[in-house]
């Protein structure tokens, strides 16, 4: 027996030795353990010995004596090296790195893979939106997605944010994209009624988001039918992974200050104001006695020089904390999180606090049935000051209140006597209140049942609840409450939106070998959004500052409640045909019924066709070494826009035109029973390629989308008793190119440099209007052949050097000029509010544990309108209001060359009137984000018994370069590009810490 054992051992040793000298190894290479990877090359490292896998993925290779390591490589898969050792069979599964081809992309009502996707979909990952000092996720999207323009108009925390995807498709109807959170189309936008701005998305914590898909073309959008025209933003919240429960804690603290200040547009100090006023009174021809008494009444020599700007602007505090836990077993997984976010605006009276919780549980009840539940709920407490021309607007008082009036009396109490009936907003920020408490809950219960291996039924019942409580109190001593002896408002707004979606999904091979396969979905969806609004106001308050609720008011003046609802009922289907992942053809159809249209136009049909060709999968590309990926996509379809009021179709008589406290009625809506969907017909062609082992990744898209049957607010002659009526008339076109480039210029063991660049160009053109007639709307003209939101203004012709008078061109021909404010016929096309191109450049460097990244956002080609310019730079108009430093450049004597006319008390020849003087080039480049971080090495982290730790310092909007040195305020002023004395957009510096354990 011993002998036998010894012989056997000896034999094994010999065999081993023999094999090591020249043995053959066999095995199989697969993608996922099953699917064979043909054509994979296998080389014995350090030798010339090579082999390849066959159709079934099998290979064999003879190992020379010095062979120790086998290297497997296959197109679109990560190389793998295996020590040969004593093995005789080596089976390998190659990781599908590269390839995003197999990467799952969330789309409408399901997912797709990059290889089978025919649409233009951009994806934003959690890491790009986590821990940012933004009050809502829409703000975080700026610069992240080619073709998506995200613009703020206010720096108020919780302010609404305008998003345009591939330009604006409608003139009057909504241009806002549809937001879908975990499969539920939600109400987004600003639902506040007493606040100057609000944002329903501010209750959603960006840290709870796992991914965002932006659906940009027909193939990806049209499954959402009538609400797809402005693009769809599909948000997926975080899911738990099974395994040991993991915790994660993130915190961030910082400060914010005004991002852009133009010194020329700071208010004058007391001396400067008095001097220019005296000058203006002389120029207006007042007598010396009148001049002296007037400047004295305006505070000359009273010793006060109060800086309203400094007293109203402030450094705001910023903080957030987020904690999450995830885990589970093979049956049940969970994800739990909670967060707190607090931000103060850049001026007094502006703040937001958010607290939110998030739960997701998924359970595999049986092999066939999976059930899930998720709920994302948040509460926001926001305080926003008044905006625009309101006397209680702190920003307005910054520019309008005289420096010769202080916010305080000598004894330290508030001063209530100010120039021009304006309010002491420093006092009001303490004495008045304006709050919004917004509670949102978004969630669903869902079930998925596998009827067959390839057929599943899914049902999602989702809810989207938003409750807004708004309170306002105006004290009886000073300000807006004075006339009514104090007043208080309490508004309650509630939107409850439910959506029930049922889908059937079928995966089916058409040929038995699976070369041709299809996946098909049919679905049904019903949605109802119910808005409820109650409003009350009471006046006549007791002489106290602490009784601030309407209950204390003696005279109730508003007591109102109403509802507003809409419903959608839809059937939809989509399918795609896939030939070997080389060719994919997709189609979708949706029939929508909407309550917004009359019975005869209630239903609309929407569809799309898409195709993709994965050229890299073609046999002729087998020997290609350049392209890691090469993909061509195209799509065309029709979707719709029903983004009008809930009751715009019928002619209506409204009530509330009361007289002697008895009911009165009047016509309120012209109505049009033929009103129907606005149509949007996007055509898209795209190319994706990756070269140099995926270190260069490029996506290019070109599109034309035509909007027809525009839901247009057509101006009527006011003699009809109406100003405008909504009609289906006119058409518009958006054309553009989008480019996204991702480069990895350096990639070594320790150092990695990532460079991301995106560029979007969109050209909007009105292609037809009723009777080719221009539509004038404020400072804009809507004219065939021009972009939407094109400014139409009298043309400024400079200051007359000899008289100091303002001058305008007399006609629209840029010829003769005059010092008489010209008529309406002299208005010219003066540039557009929408940028010609925009995008971002992001550089990210990581070296060992350190990482440094910077994102530059750029925006070119639009004009910004300074709405209130006439007041602070009107050459004497509104003379009892303060002026800005630029006013000091006023013309003083013949020969002076300046662009600011002679200052005449009361105004110099309508210089304050709207003209191209109010326009500034809005082009800018901004350091949107800059971040320096350090991740603790794993070894240390383990010693500290934590999973990982990451510290960082971040700056947001730190630097802003503008092209036009006379641009008064931040270049970001909404999609209409007009400033309105809103809270200034902040720049923020924060430090953060992320711990996982």
């Amino acid at each position: 027996m011993r002998k036998f054992v010894a012989t056997l051992l000896c034999a094994i040793l010999v065999v081993t030795q023999v094999a090591a000298q020249n043995k053959t190894i066999r095995g199989r290479v697969t993608e996922d353990g099953k699917k064979p990877l043909s054509n994979t090359s296998i080389i014995v490292k350090g030798t010339n010995v090579a082999s390849k896998t066959n159709e079934e993925g099998y290979y064999s290779i003879t190992i020379p004596a010095n062979g120790k390591v086998l290297k497997f490589s296959s197109l679109n898969f990560e190389d793998q090296e295996v020590n040969i050792g004593s093995k005789s069979e080596i089976n390998v599964i190659l990781a599908n790195t590269v390839s995003e081809l197999q990467q799952v992309i969330v789309t409408g009502y399901g997912t797709t893979k990059k290889a089978t996707n025919t649409g233009s979909i951009a994806t934003v990952k959690a890491a790009d939106i986590e821990n940012l000092p933004f009050s809502s996720v829409d703000k975080a999207l700026q610069g992240k997605v080619a073709g998506l323009q995200s613009v703020a108009s206010s720096g108020q925390p919780g302010a609404s944010q305008a998003i345009l995807i591939r330009g604006a498709s409608s003139i009057t109807a909504s241009n806002a994209p549809l937001w879908v959170v975990d499969g539920v189309p939600i109400n987004a936008g600003d639902a506040s009624r007493l606040q100057t701005t609000g944002n329903l998305l501010s209750t959603l914590n960006p840290n709870d988001i796992e991914s965002i898909s932006v659906l940009k073309d027909a193939a990806s959008q049209s499954i959402y039918g009538s609400r797809a025209a402005n693009g769809v933003i599909v948000v997926t919240t975080k899911k738990g992974k099974s395994g040991k429960t993991k915790f994660r804690f993130d915190t961030e603290l910082g400060n914010s200050d005004v991002a852009y200040v133009n010194q020329k547009y700071k208010p004058l100090d007391a001396n400067e104001y008095i001097n220019i006023t005296r000058e203006g009174l002389v120029n207006a021809g007042y007598s010396t006695a009148q001049i002296n008494s007037t400047v004295s009444s305006l505070g000359e020599g009273n010793g006060i020089n109060f800086n309203w700007f400094d007293n109203i602007m402030r450094v705001g505090q910023q903080k957030q904390y987020n904690l999450s836990a995830e885990g589970g077993n093979d049956k049940t997984t969970f994800f739990l999180s909670g967060g707190h976010f607090a931000q103060e605006g850049t001026s007094i009276n502006s703040q937001l606090k958010r607290t939110n919780v998030n739960v997701r549980i998924t359970n595999k009840a049986t092999d066939k049935l999976t059930v899930g539940f998720n709920l994302n709920a948040g509460n926001v407490n926001q305080r926003a000051p008044l905006a625009g021309g309101a006397f209680g607007n702190p920003l307005l008082s910054t520019y309008f209140l005289l420096p010769t009036y202080s916010a305080y009396k000598p004894d330290g109490t508030y001063n209530y006597v100010l120039n021009g009936g304006l309010h002491n907003t420093v006092a009001l920020s303490e004495l008045d209140k304006r709050f919004l408490r917004q509670t949102s809950a978004r969630g669903s219960v869902n079930g998925e049942y596998k009827i067959l291996d390839n057929l599943k039924f899914k049902s999602v019942y989702g809810i989207d609840y938003n409750g807004l409580e708004e309170d306002q109190y105006n004290n009886p001593l000073h300000g807006d409450g004075l006339a009514s002896n104090g007043r208080a408002f309490a508004y309650y707004t509630r939107y409850f939106n439910y959506v029930w979606t049922n889908t059937l999904d079928l995966q089916q091979n058409i040929t038995s070998n699976g070369d041709l396969s299809t996946s098909t979905q049919i679905g049904y969806e019903a949605q109802k959004s119910a808005g409820y609004f109650s409003s009350l106001q009471a006046q006549q308050f007791p002489p106290s500052l602490s009784l601030t609720w309407p209950a204390s008011g003696a005279s109730p003046t508003t007591s109102s409640a109403t509802i507003s609802e809409y419903t959608f009922e839809s059937q939809f289907a989509s399918t795609n045909l896939n030939y070997k992942n080389r060719f994919v053809l997709s189609g979708s159809f949706r029939r929508d019924g909407s309550s917004r249209f009359s019975a005869k136009n209630r239903y609309g049909n929407f569809w799309a066709l898409g195709a993709t060709w994965n050229i890299d999968r073609e046999e002729f590309m087998t020997n290609n070494t350049l392209f890691d990926q090469l993909k061509l996509r195209g799509s065309y379809g029709v979707n719709g826009n029903a983004g009008i009021g809930n009751y715009d179709a019928p002619a209506l008589y409204g009530f509330g035109f009361n007289y002697n406290q008895l009911p009165g009625s009047g016509p309120t809506n012209v109505g049009d029973e033929n009103l129907t969907w606005e149509l949007n017909k996007p055509f898209n062609i795209g190319l994706d390629f990756s070269i140099l082992k995926n270190r260069v990744n490029v996506t290019v898209d070109a599109y034309i989308r035509k909007s027809e049957n525009l839901l247009l607010s057509v101006p009527l002659s006011n003699t009809s008793g109406f100003g405008a009526a909504t009609r289906n008339i006119g058409s518009m076109e958006n054309k553009g190119i989008e480019l996204s480039i991702n480069l990895v210029p350096i990639q070594t063991k320790d150092l990695r440099w990532d460079l991301d660049f995106n560029f979007s160009n969109n050209k909007n053109k009105i292609t037809s209007l009723p009777n080719q007639a221009d539509i004038l709307s404020g400072n804009f003209i809507i004219r065939e052949g021009q972009s939407l939101n094109t400014f139409f203004l009298r043309e400024w012709a400079g200051v007359d050097r000899s008289t100091g008078d303002p001058q305008w061109y007399v006609t629209d021909k840029h010829q003769a000029s005059s010092n008489i404010y010209p008529g309406a016929n002299s208005r010219i096309l003066a540039g557009q509010a929408l940028p010609k191109f925009f995008g971002s450049l992001t550089n990210a460097l990581s070296y060992k544990g350190f990482n440094l990244s910077a994102q530059l956002y750029y925006n070119f080609g639009n004009q910004v309108y300074d709405t209130w310019r006439g007041y602070y730079l009107g050459s004497g108009f509104g003379a009892t209001f303060n002026k800005v430093k630029r006013q000091l450049e006023a013309w003083r004597k013949p020969g002076d060359i300046t662009n600011v006319p002679k200052y005449v008390y009361g105004g110099n020849k309508n210089f304050s009137g709207a003209s191209t003087y109010n326009l500034n080039d809005g082009s800018f480049v901004r350091v949107r984000d800059i971040q320096l971080g350090y991740t603790l090495p794993k070894a240390y982290a383990e010693k500290l018994k934590i999973g990982s730790a990451n510290f960082y310092v971040r700056g947001t909007n730190l630097f802003t370069w503008v092209k036009d040195q006379n641009l008064p305020f931040d270049p970001e002023q909404g999609t209409a590009s007009a400033s309105n004395l809103n809270v200034f957009i902040p720049k923020t510096v924060t430090v953060g810490l992320s711990l996982a354990f």
Binding site: S297, G420, N502, T567, A651, N658, G666, F881
Partner: protein, 466 residues
């Protein structure tokens, strides 16, 4: 892999479709706070509600809410803007307002909004009865009032040339109408037709906040005077004086009259006023707020030369208080005394004006009557009786109008119909001390918004405006 069987497919589809069925009414949602016109104007009671809507339209800040009353005085020589101001009506103080002026377009738009509301009542097919007649009569009078204001502000005075362009006449609702301007004469003939209808249809006096038979007649007296038709003006004024049952306010009751805030049922003085109450008022934008010094505004002051017209004994003088504003000696206007709680109403037509019309219309043919009627006013105010004759008598009557109707929106319109230059006191900006009758800004422009939306009116802008 399992294949899908026909049976499986059928079961699945049936199951699915059963989920997909939905109630038909799911997509039928009614507007919660509005009615379609056929339901809003179906009955007599509905017309009564619609009539209140027409009155409510007159409450607009651009009309009797504020602008009509302020413009009528600031575009003349009664009220001026303090150096300490909130910038309201600056352009009218300076007489440099433009075609884009918001007060101008407000006046235009708000007037036609009222006209639409009145038209829909007048054109109602509901069968006549006494109540319907009353409602329609009030609507006719409201429409006449709106056109009367429009044609006086946006067109040259009738007394210059009635064949010139007036304002578009719209008497039926048609959303897409792009009307041209009608002749001034045609507008006045519509106004008179409407007022005749109003006079013959109405039988009820509710209170001073609504038109009554004699309020319509009183308005017609003003209209005739504006047209220079003194015979008819006098006849209409005397009809009111003699037959209406209204009495003019006495000196003793004068202060209390202006302090009152509620519509009157006693037929004293007020033939028509637009009523504002504690609930429905224009808050900061109320007429009283721009005059009274106790709020934040108080922009508008009484001109020195107007103030100096009042004798010490004149009870009207107590409506004006001396003080200082913006470092300058100023006279404050306290005619509209309330901007908290129940707000001051805006007087549209008063009995005292009927006497003034009768007086002016009697001149020069019957100076005895002229003196008699003008002194019905002076003797109720503690002012010295007028005893002049000739041109001086006319001037005294015009001055008495100025004193009695100051800050009631009449002065500028008087200067228009009398085709007079406006000479303003030193309180006004030096650039705008005299505003000749020929100054193109004496007539408002067709607002830019109307020119932009209505191609047929584009070439019909008033002279001087472009």
């Amino acid at each position: 892999m399992k294949r899908i069987t026909i049976k499986n497919m059928i079961v699945t589809t049936v199951l699915f479709l059963s989920l997909a069925s939905c109630e038909k009414s799911f997509l039928e949602l009614k507007p919660p706070t509005s009615l379609t016109p056929e339901f809003a104007l179906a009955t007599e009671a509905d017309l009564q509600v619609a009539l209140r809507g027409a009155y409510a339209g007159l409450k607009n800040t651009a009309l009797y809410g504020r602008s009509l009353m302020v413009l009528g005085d600031i575009m003349a020589d009664n009220t001026y803007q303090s150096v300490l101001n909130t910038n309201r009506y600056t352009a009218f103080n300076l007489y440099n307002y433009t075609v884009t002026d918001g007060d101008v377009s407000g006046l235009w738009t708000a007037s036609y909004t009222v006209i639409l509301r009145a038209n829909n009542i007048i054109n109602s097919p509901i069968a006549d009865n006494a109540n319907i007649k009353q409602i329609k009569g009030e609507a006719y009078a409201i429409r006449a009032l709106a056109y009367y204001n429009l044609v006086r502000y946006f067109a040259s005075p009738y007394t210059v040339d009635p064949s010139k362009l007036g304002v578009p006449i719209v008497t039926t609702y048609q959303a897409d109408l792009k009307p041209e301007r009608a002749k001034i004469a045609d507008v006045y003939s519509l106004i008179n037709k409407d007022l005749n209808q109003a006079y013959s249809l109405m039988t009820v006096f509710t209170n001073s906040s609504q038109f009554s038979k004699y309020a319509a007649k009183a308005l017609q007296a003003k209209v005739y005077l504006t047209m220079g038709d003194k015979t008819n003006a006098k006849a209409a004024a005397l009809d009111v004086i003699t037959n209406s049952g209204f009495t003019a306010i006495s000196a003793a009751a004068h202060a209390g009259y202006w302090a009152g805030v509620a519509p009157r049922t006693d037929k004293v003085e007020t033939l028509l006023e637009i009523s504002f109450d504690a609930v429905a008022n224009n808050a900061f934008d109320a007429l009283s707020y721009i005059y009274l010094q106790s709020g934040n505004y108080g922009d508008m002051l009484c001109s020195t030369d107007l103030y100096n017209l009042f004798e010490a004994s004149d009870i009207r003088k107590s409506l004006y208080a001396s003080g200082t504003r913006g470092g300058l000696a100023s006279v404050f206007v306290n005619k509209y005394s309330s901007f908290t709680g129940d707000h001051s109403d805006t007087k549209v037509i008063r009995m005292s004006e009927m006497y003034l019309i009768a007086a002016e219309a009697s001149y020069p043919s019957n100076t005895v009557d002229a003196l008699k009627y003008v002194n019905e006013v002076t003797n109720r105010r503690g002012a010295t009786a007028i005893a002049s004759d000739g041109q001086a008598l006319l001037e005294d009557i015009i001055t008495e109008r100025r004193k009695e109707l100051a800050f009631e929106g009449e002065r500028y319109l008087d200067m228009q119909r009398l085709q007079r230059n406006i000479v303003r006191s030193k309180n006004y900006p030096s650039a705008a001390l005299s505003v000749d009758f020929t100054n193109f800004r004496r007539i408002m422009p067709i607002p830019q918004g109307e020119l932009d939306a209505n191609p047929n009116i584009k070439s019909q802008q008033n002279p001087g405006w472009f």
